[in-house]
Structures are given as structure tokens and as C-alpha cells.
């Protein structure tokens, strides 16, 4: 699509890979990346290391602003999309600006998931998805000597390690919801418990929080069906869910995420979805699948961009990344878990 306009919504690995691929293949295309966060594209998997001070904030960022300027990629940060008119090819931003596009890549990413029964405690729990979250953890951790991790996802195990290196006491509450959306098998649960305990983590095998009371800014009383205790901070690590609520009334097909075919096409012409907001249909399995993780996201971003430019590449259903922390292995592409 020479001299045309492509908009990429999102500023994570899928979005950035899509932008770079478009630029490599379409030097004249006007490419705009719209990110809701104020921060540039960062390596989310380094956030635990940033929290414990092992890496500097600058190391989190993948590209400096000059990278985008040099490639004539129009990066717009801190700007939220509130609506998309797929028929008129128009995007409305929160600050009442209306953009038009010829091609669109939805790489809107995801946000922390809190399971329904725990939503009542949402305001008492921290998450770790963004640079801002990490700053909040850093600040709050200076005031406490212990933290409870509830759930368990790709980030939680490395975060537990980070807390230990800071000399904090760590409690880890594991149950069958842990590692969602990956099915948490007995084997994973057992391996994880063993590894965590070996490191000095107090593992609580409990499937129910009965109550949380905030007694002071830095002191919570937690009651579970296993035992009761006091803790300084509580972190919720229940995986992520696609950030697609704003698309609910746009006509695009949604389930948990954006439903796309094997070429990452949505039901609208020249509109693709990539990254962990996309649920990709697999004709062989007759079901949708999702990939998470940095490298998978990049692969999907590249595929979406190439198809937007007229290619016909299938999204690679083979897992591109094996998540492994402390010997616990999880496949990051899966079917049916949603």
C-alpha cells in the first residue's frame, strides 16, 4: 500500500514489530503507532529486575524516541483510542481527534486479570504489567519487609526471585488458578512449590481467600482457608486479559480477545490483530488459540504487517517460546484454555 496510511494501535512487541516490518517493506507509507501508556516500548519481562534494582529504567526501553524519528514512524504516546468506525475507517481518540486509516493493526495488548471472586480486593492488590506499576512496587517496597504473591503467571516466579534478592519475606499462594490461562497441572503446581520453597518462599497451597483487611498502609491481615497471616504488600498475578473493551460496540468479532483467521484478519478489510489481544483460528483444531510472550508477539506483529501489505502468511501455530523459570516449563501457545 504505497503512500497509504497505516495505524497501529498498541505499543508493545507486536505493534513495534508490525511498524518496523511495514517500514521495511513500504518506505513511503505513513505509519502511526498509538500507545495508551506514556512510556515507550519496554521489555515487560525485565520489570521484576527493575523493581529490585538489578536493571536501570533505561534498560527497559527497547527503542529511544530517535529510533522512531529516524524511521519516520509516527509514535504517539499517552493517547487512548475510544472508538473505531471500521466502516468509515476512522479512529477516535480520547482527546477528540479523529484519524483515518487505510490499514489497521490492532495490537492493543492486555491488562492484568483479577479473578471474579477477588475483584472485591482489587484496590488492595498491586499488579506488575507496566513501568508505572513497577515504580509503585519500588516505592511501596521501601516501606515493607514482606509481600504476598497470589496466583502465579509468567511474571510471578521471577518477581518472587526479585523480592528475595531485596531481602523481603515472600509468601506465594498457589492453587489451580495459578498460571492461567495455562492449565495448571499437578506437575506444574508441585514443581513450582518445590522450587519456591527451596528458595525460602513460604508457599501457601490454598484455593480461597476468605478476607483481607488493611490495618495500616503497610500492613494487611489475610485470611485464607489454609491459614491467616500479616503481610506488607499483596500482588495479584493471575495472567493477563486482552484489552479490548473499547471495541465492544464497533462490530469487530470478540470473544475474550479479537477473533481473527489464520492470516490474522478480522472481519473488516485491511484490519488485522496481533499479539496477545488476538485469538487466532486454527482450521485443523477448529478452535482459537492465543500466544503470549515477547517473541510470539513479535512474530504475530510481523505476520500481520506482511499480510496488510498484500502477503498471505499464516500465523505460526507452533510455540515460538518456551517459558522457563527455575526449571518450570510452560508452553506459551495453547488451545482451548480461554
Amino acid at each position: 500500500m504505497p503512500e497509504q496510511r497505516c495505524v497501529i494501535i498498541g505499543n508493545g512487541p507486536a505493534a513495534n514489530e508490525a511498524a518496523i516490518t511495514l517500514r521495511e517493506n513500504a518506505p513511503d507509507m505513513r505509519i502511526t503507532i498509538i500507545g495508551a501508556e506514556r512510556s515507550g516500548h519496554y521489555r515487560a519481562y525485565l520489570l521484576p529486575d527493575f523493581v529490585c534494582g538489578k536493571v536501570a529504567e533505561e534498560s527497559l526501553y527497547v527503542h529511544p524516541p530517535a529510533f522512531y524519528r529516524e524511521r519516520n514512524l509516527h509514535l504517539r504516546l499517552g493517547q487512548s483510542v475510544v472508538n473505531i468506525d471500521f466502516h468509515a475507517c476512522k479512529i477516535t481518540l480520547d482527546h477528540k481527534e479523529v484519524l483515518t486509516y487505510d490499514g489497521l493493526v490492532l495490537a492493543v495488548g492486555s491488562k492484568p486479570r483479577i479473578p471474579e471472586p477477588l475483584l472485591i480486593f482489587e484496590d488492595l492488590m498491586l499488579t506488575l504489567k507496566t513501568v508505572r506499576d513497577a515504580h509503585i512496587w519500588r516505592e511501596r517496597l521501601t516501606e515493607v519487609d514482606s509481600a504476598l504473591i497470589i496466583g502465579g503467571d509468567l511474571t510471578s516466579l521471577s518477581f518472587a526471585n526479585a523480592l528475595l534478592t531485596m531481602g523481603k519475606q515472600v509468601k506465594f499462594m498457589l492453587n489451580e488458578d495459578s498460571f492461567w490461562p495455562v492449565r495448571c497441572t499437578e506437575k506444574i503446581l508441585s514443581e513450582a512449590s518445590e522450587k519456591l520453597r527451596a528458595k525460602g518462599v513460604d508457599v501457601i497451597l490454598s484455593n480461597k481467600i476468605k478476607g483481607i483487611a488493611q490495618e495500616k498502609d503497610d500492613r494487611f491481615h489475610v485470611e485464607t482457608n489454609a491459614r491467616n497471616f500479616h503481610i506488607g504488600l499483596i500482588g495479584a498475578f493471575f495472567g493477563l486479559r486482552p484489552n479490548v473493551k473499547f471495541l465492544a460496540k464497533t462490530g469487530v468479532l470478540l470473544e475474550k480477545g479479537i477473533l481473527v483467521d489464520k492470516y490474522l484478519r478480522t472481519g473488516f478489510e485491511n484490519v488485522y490483530a496481533a499479539g496477545d489481544c488476538a485469538q487466532v483460528y486454527h482450521p485443523e483444531f477448529k478452535d482459537y488459540w492465543v500466544s503470549i510472550g515477547y517473541r510470539n508477539a513479535r512474530n504475530l506483529g510481523r505476520t500481520a504487517a506482511l499480510n496488510l501489505l498484500g502477503g498471505k502468511f499464516q500465523a505460526d501455530v507452533a510455540a515460538k517460546n518456551i517459558f522457563e523459570v527455575d526449571g518450570i516449563v510452560v508452553n506459551t501457545s495453547w488451545w482451548t484454555e480461554f
Binding site: G78, D94, H95, K96, E97
Partner: protein, 591 residues
Amino acid sequence: MSRIDLTVEVCGLAGDGTIAAGGLINEAMSLGNYFVLGFDSYPAEIRGFGRCVTRSRIGDDEILALDDETHVLISLDDEQSISRVPYLAHDAVIIFDNKPPGYVEEARSLVAHLEAGARLYGIPLTDLATAAAGTPRGKNLTALGAFAGVYGASPELFRYVITKKFEPKGEKVLTANLKSFDAGYEYALAQFADHLVPTFYSSVEGIREDKVMLSGNLAIGFAALDADLKLYFGYPITPATPIMEFLAKKLPSQGGKVVQMEDEISSIAAVLGANHAGARAMTATSGPGFALMTELIGLGVMAEIPAVILNAQRGGPSTGLPTKTEQSDLHSAVYGGTGDSPRIVIAPTTVAECYTYTLKSFQYAEKYQTPVVVLTDFYLDNRVENVPKPIASPEDTERWNIAPDPAGKGSYLRFENTASGISPRSYPGQEGFNFTASGLEHTETGSPDYTPNIHMKMTAKRYRKIQSALTDLPRPEVFYDEDHLAVGVVGWGSSFGSILEAVKRAREKGLSVAALKVTSIYPYHAEEIRSFMVKCEDVLFPELNFSGQLANLMGHLSSRTPYRINEVTGVPLSPRMIFANIKKIIEAGTR
């Protein structure tokens, strides 16, 4: 603590309160004891339409010039602010209305035009102002509140200057504006708690009013009042009109008068008449008006009549660029007119110097009985600086050579050919002293005479008189003097601040550079300028004119052909660009 050096722009459509907002920032920061240099820009045609921009550079060290980059853009109108994007620093902070009254297409959206790295602070300015005060008119104040909140500036300073500005308009207006300000301040603190950029001292010990915000034009006006000006004759022209407006308000209270004449010719004629009669009188104009005055300036030279003429330069020739700055009337000021007509030309470089040298010009004019041209320009006239309150010393207001020695009665020669060239002055009504004022060449008594030796003798006398003024005129000033310099940068007028900043930057990089400020354009201190140039391997003249007019006048004093920077872009010279040129000259090595 790191240095504070922040350039803030307010941009909006006329009627948005842009200029008022910029002025309040300047006032508030000045009261906070920061150094401030502000400059407004508005359309040429009619104020009240089009884009308005104010730029304020705020620092905790002396501010010499406007910076090349803007660090904060406060947008009161997105579409107008798009034009400011090229001047933004890569990580500029953008304070803008994120809930404007209507939807905007991308082409008209400021945000859409920003580069990667810009930091957005979207604030519902219109909504907040309306909710706070029942009208969106105070959204400029809401934006100022947001600025104060984001940058940690004391809200008390802003409330003080808002009160000072709006109190005369009544309680209702004042309250509405204070509420609008507070709404923006509180919103910024609440919404951007994680993204504040605390830069300024959040509290100040009391309000400091030992400095005042003055524009070049106002400084000139105050100087004229302190010089005991009696008569101002003028015809309105940008950018000199504010001087006339100011004096029209102030002069009558000290027994003077402002008369708007039918044109510039009659203005200078009246000034000459008043001075001939012994009253201090002045006029102010710009290039086109000055061109009309040149014939009568010649009369002032020939008849040896004092006159102070302010030429506020703007882009030319002809009507040119009425609201853009330029330094292209130097030739006209020095040489304009018929015949050999030497006069004093003096060019202040700062707002403070606008005061100092306007005040002194009245003395130069009287002592040397000559027209004195004070050369300013749009940038100097309209920029504001916080300067110590100007106070005239008794010697600055002393009147020089206004009457002949009574003992000379009977043998008095109005145009006596003295060693200095200065003759005893007289004016009508002084019994026993003639008071000829003729445009014809004349003898020492004033009688018309065109014989060759008289014209030779009297022309030489007039030149000698002007040269003798060098003892009183400001000497060239060297900044960062050394025995040997790689580059010496010579500058004048409003550009000198940019030059000095460039030289400072160059020296911080270890380069052997100095600056020479020339304030007395004509006559000039040739030996002092030459002795500076001798020490420099190369000399550079940066000027806001195409032909290099100061270089043309003084370049011959250098043994090498000087380098020149000649810009006629309508905007002040960029310190960064001058620095780049200095570097380039040094890197090129010896010629």
C-alpha cells in the same frame, strides 16, 4: 541543584488570552526571583485576529537570549500551535485541551503533529474553566494553573500576579480568574501525580518586587520621562507605537505633551523646532518613517540642532515585515540623507540598555548639538526582561550645553569652529545671541556661504564634533578577553545576547572565543575595535541583515576579511546557529 533553564511558549488564537497568559508567567517567575526574558509574536495586519505566541525563557542564571528550543508548549488552540512544533525540544512537555468543544481531524490536531518523545499533559481546559467560573474564557488561566502544578511553581506567585492584573476589573472577574487558575493547578496535581516535573521552588519567601518586567519600548518610555522630555511628536508605526502610547499616558502629568502629527516628516520637523527652541523633544519611528525623516535629519546636522530619534527596526525595505525583527537600518541610520551628514548612532543591546542609552541620548544630543539615532528593533522593543528598577542618577539627567556663556555676549559665534567642533548653543529669546538655523551651508556666524573653503571647513568641523563625542559614548566591551583568540565575534543591538550565549557555549567546549559588543555604532571607537580584532585569528559578524551592515562599516579594521552571518528570517538570531558557525570556522583552521 541543576540549572534551571526552561523556555515556555503559550500559543493560541487572538482572543484566547495568549499574550495575557505569557505575561503572567513572566511576572510570576520574575517575582519568584528567576531571570526572565519574554518575547511575543502576533500577526502583522490587525491585532485581534490570527495566531499569537509568547515565548518566555526562565532561568536561575542571567538570560542572554531566547533559546532555540521550546521545552514547554501551552496550547490554547491546537491548530495554531501546530506551527510551533518545529521549535519543540524532542522531549517537550505539551499542555493542551484534551476535551475541546468539537472533534478535530488529524490535520488540525496538535497532538498528531508531535514527534516521538513529546510528553503530553492533556487537560480539559475548557471544561475545567467553565466548571470553575461559569465561562470558558479563563481557560488560559487554567492552563497556567496546570503549568504551575506540573512544574512545581508556587501557586501563590501566580495568584498574586493574577490578582494584580484582574483586581481593577472587579471582584467577579478576579474571582473567576483565580478559580480558573486553581482548577488547572489542582487537576494537574491530581492527574499527573506520577508525571510531575518539579523544577521551580515550590515556595518563595515573600513576593520580590525589586525587579520589574519591562519591554524595550517601556524602558525607552521611562527613560524619556526621566530625561525630562517635554515634547513627543510622532506618527504611529509598528514596532515603535507603544512608546507613543506610553508617553501619551504619562507625559502630561509631568508637564509634557504628546502630539500625533500627520506624518513622520512633520514629526521630525517639530522635534527639531522644539529642540531649537530649547525644549527636550523626541520622536520614535521605524524604517519607513525613518526614511521620510532623513532630509530633515540632514537639517538637524547642518543647523546643529539636538534631536533624539528612535528607529525601531523591522523587516524591510518599504512596508516590509511590520511585525518581524531585523537589523537592516544601520546603513540608513549612519548614512541616510543627503551630503556628508554625520550624526550619532547608538544601539542598545538589552532592555536595561534601552533605558540607559535613551536617557543618555538626550545629553549626547544637547552636548554635541546633533541628531542622535537610537537603533532598536522589533525583538528588543517587544521583548520583556526583568531588570532592576531603573533609577536615573543626577548626572544622567544633567543638561549639557544648553546656553552660551553670558560673557560671550556680543562676540558670540553660533557655529564657532572650535578644536572639538562643539560650538556654544543658543536658542531663540536669548538676548544678544543669534540663533540661526539654516539648511544652507554657513559661516561660523550662521550666514549662508557656499564658498569652497567654508564648506570644507564646516564639514570638517561637523565631523570633528561627532568624533569628539567618542569620549562620552559607550566604549566597545570585550567579553572573555584573552591575549590570543581563535575567533572574535562582533555584534550589536538585540543580536548581541544571542552572540554572547553562543560564545559562552563555545568556551564551555574549550574553544578560544570572545565577544565584542559595539554599542556606539557611529562614531565608533576604531582603535579599540581594531586592537580586539588583531588578537583574533578570525572575526565573525553575525547580523540580522542581508548585507552585513556592521561588517561593512567596521570590517576594514580587521586585517583579514571577516566571516559574516547574515540572516533575514524575521526572527532573532539563534545562539545554536552562531555557535555552529564559530565551531566551523575553528575546525576549518587557518586560511
